[in-house]
Amino acid sequence: MSAMLNTLLRTITLDDSAYQEWRERPNLFLRGIVLIAIVILVAGLIVFAVNLVNLVRAPDLGQIEEQIRQGFEMSSRFNPAMQNMPPEVQEMMDTMIELIVPMVSDISSIEAPLPRGISGLFQATGAYLGRVLAALGGWLFYGALVLIAANLLGGSAKLPHFLGMTSLYIIPGLLAVLRPVPCLGYLLALIGTIWSIVVYIKAVSIATDLDAGRSILAVLAPFIVLFLLGILLSVMGVAWLAIVL
């Protein structure tokens, strides 16, 4: 276990021997799935705890009321149409606000059949685990596209082996655990993302035996193709609408 952790930590420093050690481990694809799941779960732990507390706590009706009033106040301050309203319309708006506040409060206090603590736990857990599945889905999808690009550029690797290697990209994502830290959190998460891309490129290079330049191209190619495809589809959609309308 400690040997594996050591290998994983050394992959962050782009140590060739660590990538080779990881490559030679059995069931690489399954290991990749477990690695991604663990890192996403650890990285999202603080966000999960905050969500759980927010969802389990009973809604603060006073705060909801204050937020609604502030929202209307902001729109009346910055929306010119609301500033120049005739007095009768203004009176109608005031009456509506007086009704909307208790309406939202009443709706917020409608209870679910299960106690708030349990339903809050369900909601927070669902969102927490959903992130793992989303990360795995993205890893499979993008990995398959990168492998196609790598094969076209002269590299070769079996899909499960390739995916197992590229799963290493997730390790720098652990920095995302610090995202809730004010100001610094987002910067660290950004550094983690850039680092992840570098680790991904290195893993592609080791898995497919491509040189660094081709590996970078293989990793970027799906993004470029999907981006251009998105533009093409948008243009076609707009052109079709222009013809029909």
């Binding site: 409608i110 369900f122 685990l129 398959a144 079996k158």
Partner: protein, 241 residues
Amino acid sequence: MDGIVGSLRLGWNALLFEEDAYEEMAASTSPVVKGLIFIVVVGVIIALCGLVGTGLEWASIPNLGEIRDTAFFYMKQMPFWDAIAQEDPMALEQFEEWYQRGWDIFPRLFGAPDVGSAVLGIIMIPLGLVIRWLIYGLLAYVFARWLGGSGSLSKTLGVLALAVAPQALNVLTIIPFLQVGSIVAVWGLLCAYYGLKTAHNLSWTRAAWVTLLPFILVVAVLILMGCFGSAILGVALGGQS
């Protein structure tokens, strides 16, 4: 029972892209029957898990009927209500009808838990999986043969049944509010690629095309139908004006 356990073991290995699993399925005496049993078992299990998850989700959210009635109670007190009631009482009746109908339709469209649909899923999910498997299998077989594949239709259907294995991830819907997302579709497509490559002895490029062509065909047909539909609608509306 051994057959079901054996199929589930094959499904697990197929999920991990182990070529042996696809080869074993293709070489089995009745890959279609084996595949059909596997799909039905997976379908029923995920439907049952979905039912439990939907039930828990339903019990975790406030009663939608109560929300609807509370909102309506306050709406009737708003100034515009009286103004419309004096001008056109019929309009208010119509509004109330639409309001009730909207509450019947929109929450379901936006994912509100529907226990009735989840119960129906015990039949509809396995049925849907089987229909999708047959249609995709048939199209993939035609494209595979066209691109030089050597497998039979029964082999093709057998290996493609294993591509249903990622659907098993839907058992996680037993956890309320968990969105499984696109992982099932992506993983299923990759399993289908592996199966078709194995069953038809295709190169990776041809196997990739055979995997994608049925989807491309269906999307192209849908786009064409959409174009024709909007053109016919345009002509019909133009004729009326």
